[in-house]
Symmetry: C2
Subunit: 192 residues, 2 copies
Amino acid sequence: MTERGAGLRARLVDVGVELVTTEGVQALSLREIARRAGVSHGAPRRYFPTHLELLSAIARRGFEDLAARGAATLGDGTGSPRRQVATLGRVYLDFALTHRGMHELMFRHDLLESDTLGLRDASLPVFGLLVDLVGRARPDVDARLVAGALLANLYGIAQLWTWGSLQLTTGADDVTPLLDAALDAHLGREDR
Amino acid sequence: MTERGAGLRARLVDVGVELVTTEGVQALSLREIARRAGVSHGAPRRYFPTHLELLSAIARRGFEDLAARGAATLGDGTGSPRRQVATLGRVYLDFALTHRGMHELMFRHDLLESDTLGLRDASLPVFGLLVDLVGRARPDVDARLVAGALLANLYGIAQLWTWGSLQLTTGADDVTPLLDAALDAHLGREDR
DNA sequence: CAAGGGAGTAGACACTGTCTACCGCAAGGG
DNA sequence: CCCTTGCGGTAGACAGTGTCTACTCCCTTG
């Protein structure tokens, strides 16, 4: 069996996840990851032909983690669809603000814009879940459009909040009002 | 006069703006900018002690350019505040999707998160204009909160659209429906 | 037992940002 | 008039990066 061989592949991603959460995204150099994994700097090349592919694999872990958190928090799906969207948005914002480095990595331009890395596909499950919930919460509208706009809103809130732009403009010290404003705006105010 | 001396400072930023719009953000290495400006790689250091400060100056140009486009398109301020917000949003989205590299640079984490570079302050004018217009369009709500949420929404749409995530989820090939959805959501549907 | 290939090493290469020693040259003071 | 000072820029060094390639083990297979 190639257990030892394929073990390095997963270990590199593990080290990367660990590294990005503790040190930030700028610490994710290929050589540093290899160093922490205890191999030479050329070793990752066998599993990840380029640095971006390794970064993409690490970011994919982030999307999987986020999807798992969403599924875990949503549980068996009790509560109105509207409330489920709210909790999903809360989970996402918490994730983004807690795991800043990972969130930054997940939405890096050079990773997401590439057609070969396939990171966009990794983000589809959690996006699809949101579209589904929005469709059940508001059957009267184009669910994909509203979900897309809401998703963009949540993402923008997460980003602008992390570097303090929204604190400056809104004067708030808590994201919750912004989250509620976005939910109310896209889903309507009723049945809070 | 130190015309020739201070000329390099502006020329470096000029070259950077030119470079980021034509070649993309990854082409903005310190040495490449110096090369295209016709000076040695150590020359920029006299005006920009670090690479990030030069990048920040280039990004500041982007915010100034965006603010100028907004002011020019808005003109003398005819039309309802609601329509003015709509045109401002359109101007922003057009700018972001046309000048992708510059837009990416303007919202880079390592630039915006820094407290010493002061890039957040450079973005305040255009933000403030939006807050002001929203306040006049909807005097009944907390303008700063709604404007912040709307701003986050526009930014998110710009970002997600550039790498095709929203095309995947919404199936659209034009941003306009998303822009309208965001405007309707945050400002209400009436008086289109 | 011999051949082959997967897995990882080690060194080179070009490139990057930062630092430091140096140089030319214009302006100002004795 | 000469001499010094300092500004604007040069050039080289240094550590670090991603990629490429030659090489070495060692396990598997024939």
